[in-house]
Amino acid sequence: MKDSKSLHNKVAKIIQEIPRSGIRDFFDIVSTREDVISLGIGEPDFITPWRIRDAAYRSLDYGKTSYTSNMGSISLRNEVSKYVNSKTNVLYNPEDEILITVGVSEGLDLAIRSFIEPGDEVLYHEPSYVSYNPIIKFAHGIPIAINTKKEDNFKITREQLDKLKTRKTKLLLLNYPNNPTGAILSKSEVEMIADFAISNNIIVIADEIYSDLTYDQDHFSIISVPGMRERTIYLHGLSKAWAMTGWRIGFATGPKLFIESMMKIHQYTMLCAPIMCQEAAKEALKNGNVDLQLMKEEYNQRRNFIKASLIEMDIPFVEPNGAFYIFIDISKFKLSAKEFSIKLLEHKNVAVVPGTAFGQAGEGFIRCSYATSLDEIKKAMMKLEEFIRIFK
């Protein structure tokens, strides 16, 4: 007994202190059940478009099985440069301002480790993707959550930024379109955040993985604001919009010095992203827009369907402008997010994710993903309607 305790203590304290992810807890409950209708999945239901899969087959035919440059293959970096330029009007040099990463997750880790020294503070907004807080802690940084609010449509306000910033604030982590809320920022809201970053000499890490999936207005990137290119690491990847989660390809763009710093970590820990996946990503950026638009249209139709169904049921929600999530306000049912989710699962076999899995700011909400077929969504909405009758 004493031995196992002493071995347990060998695990780094910083790791011991990180709690199990709330989403994993919930996953364990869901996975004990059969025939669950799940609106809890954070990845596209589409299989990677055929032309992209075919490009990967071909790359194997041609014997592409080696390492690439640490930075990623130059032909893929060229495509990334063109793509980012077409979306943001900002040009990055493929030679030394673009790094191909193993998903945005790696890019995020590299970016944070490149800047953080013990005790540096990182501002990030909650509810948020589950990795932000632990990744900051792994780097011995101090995560400072900005609790975004329902009444602000889960957008960051200047007041909050000014209140939470200290002498030690080094980074601001931005993720819009947002997982889990589906919120996006307008141009003026992005400009407000840019002004805050510039006037306080803060570096911004912009996780824009969902930027191709907005439905009512185009995404506006913070790198497009004058003065921001030089202080921003822009992170994006192929997982969501091109339905390529399993390929693990992301990219980071930024000023040469920052990318070079991230590359130092990447070259010793990852070496490079798999070459066949890089080949597939190249095809996606070059010719995949047709498929992307078809998937986006489909997401939009499902989004409309869910919105209309919720309005019929008189259940409020955050306007889902981007990504493929709708954040539903269940506070009127007088249950916590977790209780509501578990009851819905037990009574109707429908899985959603409690908002609190994304931070305390998500209390009173559940996240529903519409990256699931319309047929499943129709069933889920019917079951939700039956479920809420219990409360009437």
Binding site: F26, S31, G42, V130, N179, Q301
Partner: protein, 159 residues
């Protein structure tokens, strides 16, 4: 209107109530648009896509390339319409290239199809030659894959 048509192309069985939700329109609007499309003859019919091979009594599809002499004044239309009147004919297209008409027929047996070609089609005045192909297996029909082994293997919950 084109959004509605695309939706019905994918699923002709979708209810107007669901269509209204999907396209963010009112139910009345959707109903009247569908009615208009039907009245104008833009929507001709709603049919099911059948995986023939799973039926006990499946139908054989035959594809026939037909060369014809276009008629004075009638062009290809008259002869094409005459061929299309046969109930065996499922689809018929005027083509560019080395033949003129492409005819799809459905029958119970290959024999039945061969009989139709030799007795009805080849003997029709204006038809100069035919080339008959039997369809052996359907992999994809009207955008639907018949043999897709792709399954949803995602985790039930993920961040």
């Amino acid at each position: 209107m084109s959004e509605l048509i695309n939706l019905l192309r994918k699923n002709g069985n979708e209810t107007p109530e669901n269509i209204a939700k999907i396209l963010n329109k009112s139910l009345d609007e959707v109903k009247s648009e569908i009615h208009e499309l039907e009245q104008k003859g833009i929507i001709k019919a709603y049919q099911a896509i059948i995986n023939e091979e799973m039926l006990d009594q499946s139908l054989v599809t035959t594809v026939i390339e037909v060369k014809v002499i276009p008629e004075y004044e009638g062009g290809f239309d008259r002869i094409a319409q005459r061929i299309s009147k046969y109930s065996e004919v499922e689809s018929l297209f005027l083509m560019s290239g080395r033949f003129d008409l492409l005819v799809f027929i459905k029958g119970k047996t290959m024999h039945e199809a061969a009989k139709f070609v030799s007795e009805k089609l080849a003997t029709m005045s204006g038809v100069t030659s035919t080339a008959t192909h039997f369809m052996m297996k359907t992999y994809k029909l009207n955008g639907i894959e018949m043999y897709s082994g792709e399954k949803d293997e995602r985790l039930k919950i993920s961040p």
